[in-house]
């Protein structure tokens, strides 16, 4: 048969079908005639007819085929794909005409998304859903109808997964499958593309196990996903998959309430919380779900550390008993409640740090720092963990207080504790002088003759002591006992002085002392001598009407001790009074044996009654000799019942120091004094190492009871002492090193030997004179300033800072924009202007009448007073700016390599949190941030500005960096140069200032400012190192600033060095300066300052 004949045959057959088919056929033919070959046309016509032959209603499918195929073949479907396409349709038509129709109808849309090769894969999905029933044919055809929108959202593979889900589900319930299918395009379109596969995987799991939840899985799952940090969505769905095995009881709450809980907490915490969830679910899935749901409640009471504690305790409970664990996490157990109460009342040092620090500074007027004991003990091995203490400069406080159920009480505790430590500074515990007399006690120090029991104590007379306290404690045969007594007595004195000076603290003090006593062991459980010390402590904590349990046998001794304490309680007692009181009490206490079980009864005596008897009061005002005589007369300690040598009460135990009173913390007077002395010598003396006598230190380490060498190295005390000495020395030396020399930054290799005399001119550099205050004259051509290009980096830092400080930037910008209208000042007394000034006009008229010559200038104008400011910012880029500041840095980059294994992850996360606490920002980073903010602000003003950095090494190498030159416009290079700002070498300020001045002096502006931002003293080789040169640097800088000033430039110095007050005054004279308390506030403060200086 020819093509023509074949075609004619098919045509007539087709025309015998219902007329709709013929109509589409003819129209199609008309279109295809021009595109296809005759042969192809025949194939086309035949394919359609074959479809019509499949079943009773398959002619409808054929009509659809004829309808869509022409335009498909025209551009979407290559003719060689036509056969497979149509034969698939033919197969479908044999199942159900509806299916085939849907198939053909959808194809044009589908082909916009997938390639013709994939048609079979796609069509198979629809076919899979058809199970021979009419319901399934509806499902299948709905699939075809929706498949274009599916494929727009997901790749074919994913769609295949989705179809297998539908297939499984439809075997359980067609209606449910149908519902899922019809909801899904909407649902999928609302979630992220990446989230679709895991959601589908969840659906598959649901269909396979607990198919009733399929629809919830789809709907709630999609909602849940949006609530979770994208990184953890998949993980969450995996947990949900595991949960579904247990049935809907936990699965649905997880999906709904669990995700809602996550939505309520910051996404940064999602990872951590989900991994806690994971750990818990290994033990109990229901408990894990409850945990998750309750996390927002817990986090509203406590922070992440608190949550961690709550979780840990819950995990323990859970491991013991699942039910108990479940109710714990449901917040239905008293144990959990208690912990939460404590957590919510807990106060962390970080949250009150600045308040307490400022409070301490207000009280003392000194630059004290508050440091958490955690950090303090890291740097100084000899500090006790978790006890308040002071090293004379900073005050160490425990990281948190959760002692009381009430937040305010916890804060009170912090306040009392810090006031006590501050009290040691304010009331001068460490100023003890062996020479100075006490205010209230006659002097016993010089003629104290304790019977020394151990001969080794007798030492050569000429041993050097490093501190007066050392000399003082050397008086006592039993140093430990003396040091314990002194600690108690001095703490009592401090408390007393505090309450005198700060009566407002009384209530808090009473409360905390009561609490302190309540947690202490009772004296009647202790060996005799120790019980006396405990009684001593209690006498300093309690007030009448409170009773103390006193052993009758030592009642007289206690009375005498009390008398001493009462005497000490007079206003204005000094540390020397405590020292004298200690001598007296020591004499009494050292005579009391530390009997294990003293044969004595105990009586409760009111504090007010102790120390009132006449004989006891004598102890205070007698001389040591008289006291000795009095002792012999019988007032000394005696075992009252019998003096029998063989008495049973002979068992003595070794004396142990009393437990510290927690609010008073730890007190190391001897060590602090030694350190203070060492610091003083090392700061005054450049060659500090030499002036410290290691032998003397060693003796201190071995003899002082304040240093527990056993903690340093086990075993040999000798070795430990050595370690301690070297640790201490390096500690002190390092500190003074930091303070006096920053010259240690990286230096170029070929460094020229130091020249003497004036320098030679060299191309590319400028020479400046320096001021020699000793000679009261300039040294000509003394410093060489070289402009060095800054290494350009990327503008990432600039962008990140802008994002980070977006709020601040807007705020600053608004302020700066407001400056501009401020400049539209009304200018008066003009010969011409906007309007007449009434005052002036009247005045002028009156003057005319009065016969004098009136002024013609009676107009005013809102004049745009030309803001005409030029400024140069000079940044200190010395090595010391590499120093860290106390601010937790959160760097999101760290999130990149998260371990996948849950356990590892948790570990990683904890480590990271710890690290974050230690990971500090550096001063230079703050300077850079400030520069960014400043630029943003300056750009709104239109002021001329230059930003420069400086550093260098030695007078022949002062480096001057340009971040933005004053006549340069802001371009992309500027942010890139900011990236290049980094800590370099030393700080020779004078020449840098002179160089900046020379740039600024010729700028034609009405107001010129030179803004110096530094982090410490001016320092450089031959500028500040040798003792008197410190002065040289300051004086030269001062001179350089003055030079600027005489040239009409207003200098302003801003330092972030908190100890800057001592030299800034000298350096700046009556030129303005500011010492910035908190480095972190620089970005905010700098623009503010600039603003206030120029309006």
């Amino acid at each position: 048969m020819t093509n023509e004949e074949s075609f004619a045959k098919i045509e007539s057959d087709v025309l015998n079908l219902p007329p709709a088919v013929g109509k589409e056929f003819n129209a199609g033919h008309e279109k295809l005639k021009t595109i296809l070959t005759e042969d192809e046309i025949v194939r086309w016509a035949a394919a359609g007819y074959a479809i019509a032959q499949q079943s009773f209603r398959s002619w409808e499918a054929a009509a659809e085929f004829y309808r869509v195929s022409p335009s498909l073949l025209q551009d979407q479907l290559p003719i060689d794909h036509m056969d497979s396409w149509s034969s698939f349709g033919r197969d479908l038509a044999s199942d159900s005409a509806t299916l085939a129709i849907a198939y053909f109808r959808t194809t044009p849309d589908i082909l916009k998304i997938i390639s013709p090769d994939d048609i079979p894969r796609w069509a198979t999905q629809g076919q899979r859903l058809y199970q021979g029933t009419w319901k399934s044919s509806a499902l299948s055809s709905h699939f075809f109808e929706n498949s274009a929108s599916f494929l727009a959202l997901m790749p074919l593979e994913t769609l295949e997964d989705f179809v297998s889900f539908l297939e499984v589900l439809s075997q359980k319930s067609h209606d449910l499958a149908e519902e899922c299918l019809s909801n899904s395009p909407q649902v999928f379109s609302e979630i992220a593309r990446d989230d679709i596969p895991p959601l589908i995987s969840l659906l598959q799991k649901a269909a396979g196990t607990n198919w009733k939840y399929a629809k919830e899985s789809l709907e709630s799952g999609a909602v849940a996903l949006q609530r979770i940090d994208p990184q953890f969505r998949i993980r969450f769905l995996q947990y949900a998959e595991e949960m579904i095995l247990l049935g809907g009881k936990h699965f649905l709450p997880l999906l709904n309430d669990g995700s809602r809980a996550l939505a309520a907490i910051p996404t940064t915490l999602h990872g951590e919380i989900l991994f806690m969830f994971d750990e818990l679910s290994q033990v109990s899935k229901p408990a894990a779900v409850d945990f998750l749901i309750k996390t927002p409640n817990v986090l509203s009471l406590a922070n992440m550390d608190g949550l961690d504690q709550w979780y840990q305790q819950g995990l323990e409970t859970l491991n013991e008993n699942e039910d108990a664990g479940i109710s714990y996490f449901k917040l239905e157990s008293s144990k959990g409640d208690e912990l939460l109460d404590a957590l919510s009342a807990r106060i962390e040092l970080t949250s009150v740090h600045s308040i307490l620090q400022m409070y301490g500074r207000a009280l003392t007027g000194e630059e004290i720092d508050i440091v958490s004991t955690k950090i303090a003990t890291q740097s100084l091995g000899w500090l006790p963990l978790d006890q308040a203490s002071t090293d004379g400069r900073s005050i160490n406080l425990p990281t948190e207080v959760s002692r009381f159920k009430d937040k305010e009480e916890n804060f009170s505790w912090y306040k009392v504790v810090s006031t006590h430590q501050v009290g040691h500074l304010e009331f001068e515990s460490f100023a003890f002088s062996f020479e100075r007399d006490a205010a209230h006690f006659p002097r016993w120090r010089d003629d104290m003759n304790f019977e020394t029991s151990s001969p080794e104590i007798e030492r050569e007379a000429q041993v050097t002591t490093m501190a007066d306290f050392q000399k003082y404690f050397d008086l006592f045969p039993d140093r430990q006992l003396a040091s314990d007594i002194f600690g108690i007595v001095e703490a009592a004195r401090i408390d007393q002085r505090i309450i005198e000076e700060y009566p407002g603290l009384r209530t808090a003090y009473d409360f905390i002392r009561q609490d302190a006593v309540a947690t202490r062991k009772s004296p009647d459980d202790m060996p005799l001598q120790e019980s006396i010390l405990e009684i001593l402590i209690r006498m300093t904590l309690l007030e009448s009407p409170e009773t103390i349990r006193v052993p009758t046998v030592a009642k007289a001794a206690v009375d005498r001790i009390a008398a001493v304490l009462i005497h000490l309680r007079q206003p204005g007692a000094q540390v020397e009074d405590s020292a004298e009181a200690t001598l007296r009490i020591y004499r009494i206490v050292s005579g009391i044996p530390n009997l294990d079980e003293p044969e004595t009864d105990w009586q409760d005596i009111d504090i007010g009654e102790l120390g009132q008897e006449g004989s006891a009061a004598d102890t205070v005002n007698t001389t040591p000799d008289e006291a000795e005589t009095a002792d012999e007369a019988g007032s000394s300690f005696q075992m009252v019942p019998n003096n029998d040598e063989n008495a049973d009460n002979g068992e003595e135990s070794e004396y142990e120091s009393p437990e510290t009173v927690d609010y008073r913390g730890d007190f190391k007077p001897e060590l602090v004094q030694v350190i203070a002395n060492l610091r003083e010598t090392s700061e005054g003396d450049e060659d500090a190492g030499a002036s410290i006598d290691p032998e003397a230190l060693r003796r201190l380490a071995e003899e002082s009871t304040e240093i527990n060498l056993e903690n340093v190295v086990d075993g040999a005390i000798d070795e430990s002492a050595g370690m301690f000495v070297s640790e201490l020395m390096s500690d002190i030396l390092n500190q003074s090193e930091e303070n006096s020399d920053t010259d240690s930054g990286r230096r170029p290799a070929q460094r020229k030997p130091e020249q003497e005399g004036p320098l030679e001119e060299e191309p590319g550099s400028v020479l400046y004179r320096e001021w020699d205050f000793k000679a009261n004259d300039y040294k000509p051509r003394w410093a060489r300033v070289r402009e060095v290009p800054v290494t350009e980096g990327t503008s990432e830092f600039y962008d990140r800072t802008q994002e980070h400080h977006a709020m601040l930037i807007t705020q600053i910008r608004r302020q700066f924009e407001m400056m501009v209208p401020e400049l539209h000042r009304k200018e008066k007394k003009l010969p011409d202007g906007e309007d007449i000034d009434i005052d002036l006009a009247v005045e002028s008229i009156i003057e005319r009448r009065a016969g004098s010559i009136p002024s013609e200038k009676i107009y005013w104008r809102r004049n745009k007073v030309q803001r005409d400011v030029a400024v140069i910012f000079l940044l200190d880029m010395s090595a010391s700016t590499a120093e860290a500041i106390d601010e937790k840095a959160r760097d999101d980059d760290e999130w990149k390599d998260i371990p996948d294994d849950p356990r590892e992850y948790l570990f990683w996360l904890r480590a990271r949190r710890e690290a974050a606490k230690r990971n500090y920002k550096r001063i230079i980073d703050i300077e850079r941030e400030s520069t960014v903010l400043l630029i943003r602000a300056l750009e709104t003003t239109g002021d001329m500005y230059g930003i420069h950095g400086f550093s260098g090494y030695g007078r022949e190498n002062v480096e001057f960096y340009t971040i933005k030159d004053i006549d340069e416009t802001f371009t992309n290079a500027v942010p890139q140069r900011i990236d290049g700002i980094s800590p370099l070498h030393a700080t020779r300020m004078g020449p840098a200032i002179r160089h900046a001045t020379s740039k600024l002096k010729d700028v034609p502006a009405k107001t010129k400012l030179l803004f110096l931002i530094s982090d410490g003293r001016p320092q450089d080789r031959g500028y500040s190192r040798e003792g008197v040169d410190k002065e040289y640097a300051v004086q030269d800088t001062h001179k350089a600033l003055l030079e600027a000033k005489t040239l009409g430039i207003t200098p302003f110095c801003l330092t972030v060095d908190r100890s800057g007050h001592d030299y800034m005054k000298e350096m700046c004279g009556d030129m303005a300066y500011e010492v910035l308390e908190d480095v972190a506030s620089l970005p905010e403060r700098l623009p503010q300052l600039y603003r206030s200086l120029t309006v």
């Binding site: 400022m358 009280l363 007027g365 000076e501 407002g504 308390e1077």
Partner: protein, 294 residues
């Protein structure tokens, strides 16, 4: 200054001028009285420097009252001889013009009358003229005082073509609060160097307590605590506070306490909130308050 007969309204300026009847209360802190006496006798203008509310104005009032004309001739001052010196106080501000200081013509009916400004009056009658916050004044205004403050002691009145020679007992006193001054507002050296300078600061605790007790009427114990609070708060200057607590504020606190406000609350309103808006600093200061006051 405004005349009812005319419809012309003049800018009103804060001008105080009085001769006090009773001696104002002033507690000397150092040798300021002697120095002022000496300067007065030698006709040297005086510049008072010091933080706000530390007693500068009060000092001038006191000095004006207790220094009489007799002083000029005599070596030793005696308190009850002759009348007190009048004191003219002018608060300076940006819009203060030279007419405001020197004087201007006024209309009275059909007549024009010359009206002396406060400075002219002070110069004529031999008063102490106190220019408060002199840096706030416009530079051209400050130039006006130049001939008054050197040996010439004359005030030119341009509009009348007159030169007035200052009365023997006239003295110019200016005050200046060195804080953060705008770079545009610094005092010119040529102005500055016409004065001797006296540095004022807050008195030490015991003296300040006396001042507070006297001015507010609180008992000594409370006054002492307030003075202690002042001392502690000043420790925070430049460590969170721009300025320390002034004696004035402490007196305010005392006055509130006298009216029955609880001490802690009084300090909060009069001291803490007045000093700073920063929540952390407020809290820290409040902790100091609650430590000191029960």
């Amino acid at each position: 200054m405004t005349s009812d007969k005319t419809n012309i309204s003049y800018q009103a300026h804060i001008v105080e001028e009085y001769r006090s009847e009773e001696s104002p209360y002033y507690l000397p802190v150092k040798d300021e009285i002697d120095i002022f006496h000496a300067a007065y006798q030698q006709k040297i203008p005086v510049l008072l420097k010091g933080p706000t509310g530390c007693g500068k104005t009060r000092f001038v009032e006191y000095m004006a009252h207790n220094m009489n004309r007799a002083l000029i001739e005599k070596e030793t001052p005696s308190a009850d001889e002759g009348a007190a010196l009048p004191l003219v106080t002018i608060a300076c501000h940006e819009d203060l013009t030279s007419s405001d200081l020197v004087g201007r013509y006024l209309l009275e009916g059909e007549e024009t009358v010359w009206m002396d400004g406060p400075l002219t009056r002070a110069v004529k009658v031999g008063a102490i003229c106190y220019l408060d916050e002199v840096v706030e004044a416009r530079k051209d205004t400050t130039v006006l005082i130049h001939p008054l403050t050197d040996h010439r002691r004359i005030l030119p009145i341009e509009k009348r073509g007159e030169l007035i020679e200052a009365d023997d007992s006239f003295l110019l006193v200016v005050s200046y609060n060195p804080g953060y001054q705008s770079a545009l507002k610094d005092m010119k050296q040529s102005t500055r160097q016409r004065f001797i300078s006296m540095e004022f600061d807050y008195p030490p605790v015991d003296l300040e307590a006396d001042v507070i007790a006297h001015e507010s009427g609180v008992d000594d114990a409370t006054a002492n605590k307030l003075a202690t609070l002042g001392e502690k708060a000043r420790n925070l200057k430049e460590h969170g506070l721009q300025e320390g607590a002034s004696t004035r504020l402490l007196i305010y606190a005392g006055k509130l306490i006298e009216k029955g406000i609880p001490a802690r609350r009084a300090c909060e309103s009069a001291v803490v909130y007045s000093l700073t808006d920063d929540a952390v600093v407020q809290r820290s200061l409040n902790e100091v308050v609650t430590s000191i006051f029960e």
